[in-house]
């Protein structure tokens, strides 16, 4: 770092114009190797936290049964109806399950103390302790019979019930932080477990998530999966061919044959859907399709009953989905193809006109060959984005009617993050996303091959 006094003339001059402050603190090194790492570090932190970690965790979560029921930070151990079901069915421990879910009434010091605090008759409680300490009863009636047998028995039924209620002992629906705590409680409860039972109980009583390959089995077995897959392929390729490349070509070629004024006008109009926030853009389509919307009002005199044109049939839903996504997608192709066409030397067009070529021949022999690479670029790029983005479908049809427009990416969202389906299945959703993540990484790597990578990584000239 230079001292201010030795600052060269250019530095003082540009100092006032420069409003950017250096990132965190002064960097003291002239060595640009370290400077580079410093400048890259913040980006590295972001990339690690929100790219690398999520990629890895998607893989990890995909192999868990994580859901709203299991929580995400690990769980507790609990005896409950839910956890006893697998104990009976998977381990055949019916008797153990019965005993664990039973309530037991034991006359102990803690119970006696609690009975006093609850306002029970002191003399009766003292006598109960003397005569029945450490005795257990299967039912509350047993305790109450014992109380009634006392000489200092309370005069009212309520007095008896206040005392008897304090001796109920149960391990059901109590959360234990560790397996050891649970086992201690069970042995205090008077049940001795053998090794196999301890193992089984540890498995079934755990409320947190566990590792499993079940998600992938479910994915293969469910008929929904293949339907979603077919939907996805249909959606991606139809939109891609008709709009993202097809209509984009139409837009760029027609505006090419126009004076600059109208060309700019049309390009701006067709860029609007990309600039319009998705929520508002889809709202316009909903207005068009709603049962009191534009189409219904305009088509009613022609004998079509008003209806929600977007959701009344799968075919209509798909038409809208493809239009909504395709028009946004087409604008990107339009811009890229237009600039590629602009790069074609004018002389080529003039020469071909002199030779008597018509417009169709110009398009076929001059324009399209020039667009080969841009078309490839758009195809790969848009395949990936159509495959993974679900924003517009979510807003427009939410996968409806009846799941007809549910694509893979949307289904990951609906399974894992949308409240409508009841419990959120994070694990299953992550497993579904993992498929997309793997496709995403593979296609992104193809990019590296397609770009002129050596050129991009030419070494710096000052070292």
């Amino acid at each position: 770092m230079l001292k201010p006094s030795s600052r060269p003339h250019w530095a003082t001059k540009s100092l006032s114009a420069d409003t950017k402050t250096p990132p965190e603190g002064e960097i003291e090194m002239g060595n640009s190797k370290h400077l580079g790492l410093w400048l890259l570090a913040p980006a590295g932190v972001f990339v690690f936290l929100f790219f690398l970690a999520p990629v890895i965790l998607t893989g990890v979560f995909g192999f868990t049964n994580m859901s709203t029921a299991t929580g995400i930070t690990g769980g507790a151990y609990m005896i409950s109806d839910t956890s006893m079901r697998p104990l009976r069915s998977r381990y055949g421990e019916n008797e153990l399950a019965d005993r664990l879910t039973q309530k037991v009434y034991t006359i102990d010091d803690a119970g006696l103390k609690a009975a006093l605090e609850a306002g029970g008759d002191a003399a009766a409680i003292a006598e109960l302790g003397d005569k029945f300490l450490d005795q257990s009863f299967d039912r509350r009636r047993g305790v109450e019979t014992a109380i009634k047998s006392l000489s200092a028995r309370p005069s009212t039924t309520r007095g008896i019930k206040i005392i008897s209620a304090q001796f109920e002992r149960s391990v059901v629906n109590v959360r234990f932080d560790s397996k050891e705590d649970l086992l201690v409680a069970i042995s205090d409860f008077g049940i001795a477990l053998n090794e196999g039972q301890t193992e089984a109980l540890g498995q079934v009583a755990y409320t947190g998530w566990t590792f499993t390959t079940q998600n992938f089995k479910t994915m293969i077995e469910l008929p929904d999966t293949s339907k979603t897959l077919i939907n996805t392929l249909f959606y991606v390729f139809t939109t891609l061919i008709l709009f993202n490349t097809g209509f984009a070509l139409v837009l760029s070629i027609t505006t090419h044959y126009m004076p600059a004024g109208p060309a700019g006008f049309f390009r701006s109009i067709w860029l609007l859907p990309r600039v319009t926030p998705p929520v508002l853009y889809v709202l316009m389509w909903k207005w068009l399709a709603w049962d009191t919307g534009f189409l219904s009002v305009v088509l009613e005199p022609m004998g079509f009953a008003p209806r929600n044109w977007m959701l009344d049939s799968p075919a209509n839903a798909w038409t809208f989905i493809i239009l909504i996504n395709g028009i946004v997608g087409a604008s990107m192709g339009m811009l890229i193809f237009s600039s590629a066409i602009k790069a074609i030397p004018q002389s080529l067009f003039h020469a071909s006109e002199v030779d008597g070529a018509n417009r169709g021949q110009q398009v076929w022999h001059i324009i399209l060959p020039q667009l080969r690479w841009p078309i490839l670029f758009i195809t790969i790029y848009q395949t990936l984005s159509l495959l993974t983005s679900f924003e517009y479908i979510l807003l427009a049809t939410d996968g409806g009617p009846g799941g007809a427009t549910e694509v893979w990416a949307l289904s990951t969202y609906l399974k894992a993050l949308s409240n409508y389906g009841g419990a959120l299945q994070y694990g299953y959703g992550a497993a579904l996303s993992l498929v997309l993540v793997i496709i995403g990484i593979s296609v992104s790597l193809i990019y590296l091959k397609l770009f002129d990578f050596k050129n991009l990584t030419a070494p710096p000239k000052i070292e």
């Binding site: 790219f51 965790l57 044959y257 126009m258 109208p262 600039v275 990019y447």
Partner: protein, 274 residues
């Protein structure tokens, strides 16, 4: 261009294709200030009633001004983070000797192409674990991170076009590389910073999925989520109200689009998700 051909057929052809889109946008504006009789699309009166949401809070929704403020904070802070991090990382990748430089470059390129929305579930769980779920800070960090590969890539591209001679001269005058960057190179890429800034702001302002999943709470709700929730509520269906909220929401976008259309066209064709 190609003056030998008649122009009006192409203009007519594209005009017909464009008409429905124009119609949708025209009605988007018209419906917010007029009423039409039932069963007709032709307005018969002007009204300001669809804009009443500006003064009275819609039941069950946060105040529109709170949502606007949240959106503003979200878009602005995201933009600042993206600009600071991208302009430094972009410079490092463009000009500085780094260990494993080609690995970093390749990595940024892969990240740029990678569809980030697939990571949503994992990011949701990470924010839950970090305790940043349902907070603006959390969703700002995520949005900035997801914009970064694009930002770094764009900035690197712009730095690449700055002549080396400028830096050589700076070094010869005794400046450090850091000074060369801040005092000489950054002023050269001001247009890039402006373009990336506008783009990031618009991206933040329009973002829907991330706030929907990561910060849906009324207190931190942004306008996109606010509007979507309004539309999804079957109890109060009022298309004109939705459109008015939508127009209110989109005002900054319109302003930026009108003033910076050409810059945006350039940066959009540089490739972004969608």
């Amino acid at each position: 261009m190609s003056t030998n051909y008649r122009r009006w057929p192409t203009i007519l052809f594209l005009g017909i294709l464009t008409a429905p889109l124009v119609l949708m946008y025209v009605y988007l504006f018209v419906d917010t200030i007029t009423n039409s009789p039932p069963g007709s699309m032709i307005p018969n009166e002007f009204t300001a009633e669809h804009w009443r949401f500006l003064t009275e809070t819609i039941p069950g929704r946060p105040s529109i001004w709170l949502a606007t403020w949240n959106t503003f904070v979200f878009a602005t802070v995201t933009t600042v983070i993206v600009l600071v991090v991208s302009s430094s990382a972009g410079y490092a990748l463009s000009r500085l000797q780094l260990p494993a430089r080609s690995f970093f470059l390749g990595g940024i390129m892969v990240l740029h192409a990678f569809p980030t929305v697939t990571l949503l579930i994992a990011i949701f769980l990470i924010l839950q674990m970090l305790g940043l779920y349902n907070s603006l800070a959390g969703v700002i960090l995520v949005k900035s991170a997801l914009e970064l590969p694009f930002g770094i890539w764009i900035m690197k591209g712009f730095y690449d076009t700055v002549p080396w001679e400028i830096e050589m001269a700076g070094i010869q005058d005794g400046a450090s590389r850091f000074q060369v960057w801040t005092k000489l190179v950054l002023p050269q890429v001001k247009p890039a910073i402006l373009a990336l800034g506008i783009f990031s702001f618009l991206a933040g302002w329009s973002e829907f999925i991330l706030p929907l999943v990561l910060a849906p709470d009324n207190k931190v709700q942004v306008l996109s989520v606010y509007l979507a929730a309004l539309i999804a509520d079957d109890q109060n269906f009022d298309m004109a109200l939705f459109k008015s909220v939508g127009i209110f929401y989109v005002i900054p976008v319109i302003i930026l689009f009108v003033f910076f259309q050409n810059r945006l066209m350039n940066i959009y064709s540089g490739g972004n998700k969608g």
